[in-house]
Symmetry: C2
Subunit: 275 residues, 2 copies
């Protein structure tokens, strides 16, 4: 199943974009998930040419969102435009946390729905799908007030009602949602509406490290039954890529070639176990 | 509202049980939440006499649970018996994580429901209520596979159906559930069934510390709108105590008298703001 594997460039953080693209070509990985910072380092047009010439599929761009920050609209328009330039039709949304200095979670959540409703028509006109990514509740205050898949789908429903746009769906990342008692029902719901715009995998490690963002591991190294999620996503008829996105200092300190080999091995093992 | 305030003994961790009891009496705090380790240090019968002679209400005993551990049944029977000895009718259940070496979350969750169904009749005969405490999803793998209030209430419903027991409810702790988009609806549901057996407050601090267990703060120092929770719990008709349970190294390093004064100040402020 390597033909459906995508390397998210933050997994090999110490690789430049050019190195990541070369690594994927060398090891036969056909997909790449991009982040705007790495694209900006390389230059947008040059990055677009680089991945196109390499024959890679850009499976997603991270990230739009942060709807509770000033200037969110201009920044999200720019993110949509970058998707178009890079030849990907999926923008991942990390929706943002509480307003600075505020404890009003309902207000922040309302701002997210309003922001996505504002952004969706622009993105739809440009052929870009918005993938709301629920983040683990430990990031609720500072990164994403959307914490569950059900909540993300409720927002997508609401935006569809308000705008008529059908381009809002979800990014399913095993790390963030594995604990949710309702998650398999919600994966089915997402799939039935054809709203799984991205599927990202990695594992949840214990203990949670000092920087809580970095507690992700290679598939198989943590506590998540990742196969159950791959199976559930497949069962909805999802035919897209599986993107491997890992934030982990030890993995970042490992040579990129070696990390990518591990990613491929684990991915191959995962999908072999499914059959 | 100090007449409804309870000090959980782990908030002043460096105080012995005798010191905590004396502190409560000295500063006029009428309730105390006990942990089994501190009770054992003092001796069960002596501890029971100590709090009784001091005229304190024991608002809860922590903890039963850990249904995926060996010997859970004997340990939970002992915990129920200790409740009776200490004169409290509330046993808080921290339900436990995955089975050792397992990634089977549904199996662990089934074990929790089965375990509570096994324990509930014994506890009911002894006049003890079981308070299932959903823990923050960051503790799902190693401490509690029950992550939301809705899930805890579903388990209580299921146990009631299976056993006919009506003594299973929840412990609502703001730290663990503040992020849940469904939480206010579930608080209402818990209250309507008279199943709020304990209400614990503290705040959620950022950044999450190196030991993720210790990221709790005094009410007002973090990101939670604690007043919204106090109001929601009150609105259900809950007339019980508000117990302050904080795990935080800096607070533990502060003299107990001072910590207790801060607890009282924040509590008084919180309930003044509600009126």
């Amino acid at each position: 199943m390597i033909e459906q594997l995508s390397l998210n460039v933050w997994t090999t953080k110490n690789w430049s974009l050019a190195e990541a693209v070369a690594g994927c070509v060398e090891q036969g990985v056909p997909g790449i998930g991009l982040w705007r910072d790495k694209v900006a380092e390389h230059g947008l047009d040059a990055a677009a040419k680089l991945v196109r010439d390499a024959g890679l599929t850009v499976t997603s761009l991270c990230r739009g969102g942060f709807f509770t920050s000033p200037d969110w609209l201009a920044d999200n328009h720019a993110a949509v435009d970058e998707c178009v330039a890079l030849g990907t039709n999926v923008l991942v949304l990390v929706v943002g946390g509480l307003y600075r200095g505020s404890k009003d979670l309902p207000a922040a959540r309302a701002a997210v729905t309003d922001g996505i409703a504002e952004l969706a028509p622009y993105a739809e006109r440009r052929g870009v799908k918005l993938a709301i990514e629920p983040l683990h509740p430990m990031f609720c205050a500072d990164r994403a007030v959307v914490s569950t898949l059900g909540q993300a789908l409720d927002i997508a429903d609401e935006v569809a009602v308000r705008t008529g746009c059908r381009n809002v769906g979800v990014c399913i990342d095993t790390y963030h949602i594995w604990w949710d008692p309702d998650v398999f029902k919600q994966i089915e719901r997402a799939g039935a509406g054809d709203r799984i715009h991205a599927f990202q995998v990695c594992d949840f490690l214990l203990p949670i490290p000092a920087d809580a963002l970095l507690g992700r591991g290679h598939v198989g190294d943590g506590v998540i039954d990742v196969a159950a999620f791959a199976r559930a996503v497949q069962a909805t008829g999802y035919k897209g890529f599986t993107e491997v996105e890992i934030f982990n200092q030890e993995i970042w300190d490992t040579p990129g070639e070696q990390t990518l080999r591990t990613v491929i091995d684990r991915h191959t093992q995962l999908f072999a176990d499914l059959d």
